[in-house]
Symmetry: C2
Subunit: 199 residues, 2 copies
Amino acid sequence: MPRPSTPLLSPDRIRSVALAIIDRDGLDGLSMRKLAASLGVQAASLYGHVRTKDQLLNDIASSVLSAVDVSGFSVDWREGLIRCARSYRAALSTHPNIVPFLAYGPAGRDESLQRLDLLHGALVDAGWSRREATMIAAGLMYIVFGSALSSFSSGFSSDPADYTDRYPHLDRAHLLPGVARELDRDSFELALAAFVRGL
Amino acid sequence: MPRPSTPLLSPDRIRSVALAIIDRDGLDGLSMRKLAASLGVQAASLYGHVRTKDQLLNDIASSVLSAVDVSGFSVDWREGLIRCARSYRAALSTHPNIVPFLAYGPAGRDESLQRLDLLHGALVDAGWSRREATMIAAGLMYIVFGSALSSFSSGFSSDPADYTDRYPHLDRAHLLPGVARELDRDSFELALAAFVRGL
DNA sequence: CCGACTAACCGAACAGTGTTAGGTTAACCC
DNA sequence: GGGTTAACCTAACACTGTTCGGTTAGTCGG
């Protein structure tokens, strides 16, 4: 197939299909050939629209993070922190399979930095020193990313026999998969509340 | 080369060389062929001692996590939480390049579960409900893993020009790489202290 | 002492990966 | 209408984890 009358590919379409594959099959489930097939195209054609796979993932990550809301600081800084953390986590948990990628490389994404800049500025305006503001923002990110990884409550076996013998205090851990989502959210809220209260 | 007089390979030696490669070249820098070459051997030979690469990484992860100290709960639960979190983070930051692997899959490693069991039991003994104990343990892990990922303060550019124009509040961010380690540790301590105090 | 057996390694291969080079043709512009 | 470019293709490269079948050194039973 030579040049088609209407283009089959566009950066947007590539990104959105790629994200759908990641959501469905996980981060490892995305390969350039599979992505191309989903788009009705050969793998090499993607490179006319996308520089590398890594760049594609970065772009997808940025688009996911664009949903983070840092508008809550007009009320007060505690409320701002909480809203920011919640929306950040919400964005990440909508596409949990891309979190390992975010956790991988440096945070030099433009979207991240812009939000960080706002956060930092708001904390300084509220009276914290620059250094304190940096540490508070970092602490907030720790909780957000830690909870988004959710390598915690997910990934537990659902077979009671896996626990009763070897881990006496985890004898109800097999119930976790069923309530994992809810428990993860409550754990996040607990950690967030404790952190902000403790500042 | 057929069977050598003294074996060249052992699971221990494989693990330790693999970990050294990961520490030096990152998680992506470890391939079975490269590992084999470092051991003076062909790649296929590794599979007589190691089931899969994934299993190898799991074993390495377990050995790294074996340094986590959960003995502090004999004093009181706050002290126990803090000590556990500190030693956990220390273990992870000694081999930061393996953290993305930990963050990837489920936490079904035996080492993790044993420590989690102790932690959970100690919190319940201290009067927390089972559910609360689970959430507190989760929150602690959020902070530990979030800070260990350190996709935060690391990964900043050291060129001031990257920030001054676009991110007015981050005009000193170029100083970060130089003090990143210290700042990361302080951020972790702040988050940990705030979290435990806020409980 | 000698044969059987096993343990430890190797070479070659398979299916998969990201990526690039070079070719073909449709659409667009002058 | 001819030249240029954009969008796709096929084929290949160098790599990945892993497996199969061989080759030989060490070990153990008779």
